[in-house]
Amino acid sequence: MSLPEEIAQKVHSLPTLSSVAMRLVQIVNDEKHNVADMVRVISSDAILTSKLLRLANSAYFARGGEVTSVQRAVTMLGDRLVMGIVLGISNSEVYAKKLDGYAAESALWKHSIRTAIAAREMATVAKDKISPDEAFTAGLLHDIGKAVISEFLKGSTDKILYKLDNKVEDEFLGAEQALLGTTHPEVGFALANRWGLPESLSEAIRFHHAPDDAEEKYRTLVYTTHLGDLLSMIGGTDTGIDAFAYRVNPNYINYFTLTIKDVDRILLNIQTEFDAVKDVIGLTEDED
């Protein structure tokens, strides 16, 4: 599907990845890569290195013993997770801006981190074994399209809320489609392709609200992203006017076995882990 001209232009006007992030994506995409390649690229950027080490030593990631080298951080966190973290911390254009068009109360980073934690949690209870670290990365990236289309929604929030409240639209995606001719997952997919992200992640971004449309081999990953996103909203970390305006795809039961007690336990784990990481990544407790 092609994007409306204005939005396609916006995707192309967004900064490409920093050279470090770009090289890292290329390295991780290459099946024959090794840890030393990643370490060399990350170490060339002092600020990135210090942020990565701070994160690796946070209560959420730390697994005993202080992490003082990039080498140790990469070995401990894994390639995909390091790539996700680097994409997050080197992309302030996408993650640090407030999503004004969504009337969001905080930057995309906050919802993305909670979704990442939630998706990772869901990966651990999936019927098919998938990498929890890849689920984390998919969660971190799932909403990048919102950073692109947010400005095109400005001035239309009343109209959108009217449509949602009066059930003219069932989900928020219908309102995006009606107003812009596209949706945040589609735009996120275009941005993912521009960044050269691996197919598993671009599929997770594109289909996180329509998981059954993803290729079968990525379905579990896409469902962890789908539910991770919704669990993040349920926990109160949303991106503004689209909060709760989405539908759970009931076919999740093919990919997870969940009781009500499991859901409670998972929500509690997400909250505990989010509390452990948010101070480190500069998410203070909601002061105005």
């Binding site: 349920i234 949303d238 409670d264 909250q271």
Partner: protein
């Protein structure tokens, strides 16, 4: 005098003139608001889950997380401010939003509301006023001086509960 922020699973009570107690973005969580006009005291609790049996350690460390441990905890705080009888208390409830889910397994908001009502009832307390459920995330602000409770949500402005 200032604004006291109540995080997830936290609670606060105050009788300091000029104080405001606020909790942001309840989502499926439930805010329990306690008003004691006679003592000029208010309390706010931010419940995330209905039942502490899933994690007793968490219930000990952060009793406000669960309805069954959070409500006794906030009542104890109110007692410290001289509110000893449930007759002195007016209760309001807010939050408990839901994602659209045909199986209802993710409708944690509804279960939080039911649990909060049930536990309150044990203390002979019922909500005087509530705005719960639906598809919006609410922020709650309680003013110690006036006992006014304000709700707000992104792009929807502010209104009184």
């Amino acid at each position: 005098m200032g604004t006291i922020y109540v995080g997830v699973g936290d609670f606060a009570a105050s009788n300091n003139p000029g104080d405001i107690i606020r909790t942001i973005g309840l989502g499926s969580c439930v805010g329990v608001i306690l008003l004691a006009p006679r003592q000029r005291a208010v309390g706010l609790l931010h419940i995330a889950l209905p039942d502490s049996s899933i994690n007793l350690k968490r219930a000990q460390d952060k009793p406000g997380t669960f309805a069954d441990t959070g409500i006794p905890a906030i009542l104890k705080e109110m007692k410290k401010l001289g509110v000893t009888s449930s007759r002195d208390l007016a209760v309001k409830l807010a939050g408990g939003a839901a994602i659209m889910d045909s199986n209802n397994i993710f409708n944690i908001g509804k279960r939080n509301i039911l649990a909060a009502r049930k536990i309150l009832w044990k203390y002979r307390l019922g909500a005087l006023n509530e705005e719960v459920g639906g598809n919006i995330s609410r922020t709650v602000t309680v003013d110690v001086d006036t006992g006014r409770v304000l709700l707000s949500s992104p792009a929807r402005g502010e209104w009184e509960l």
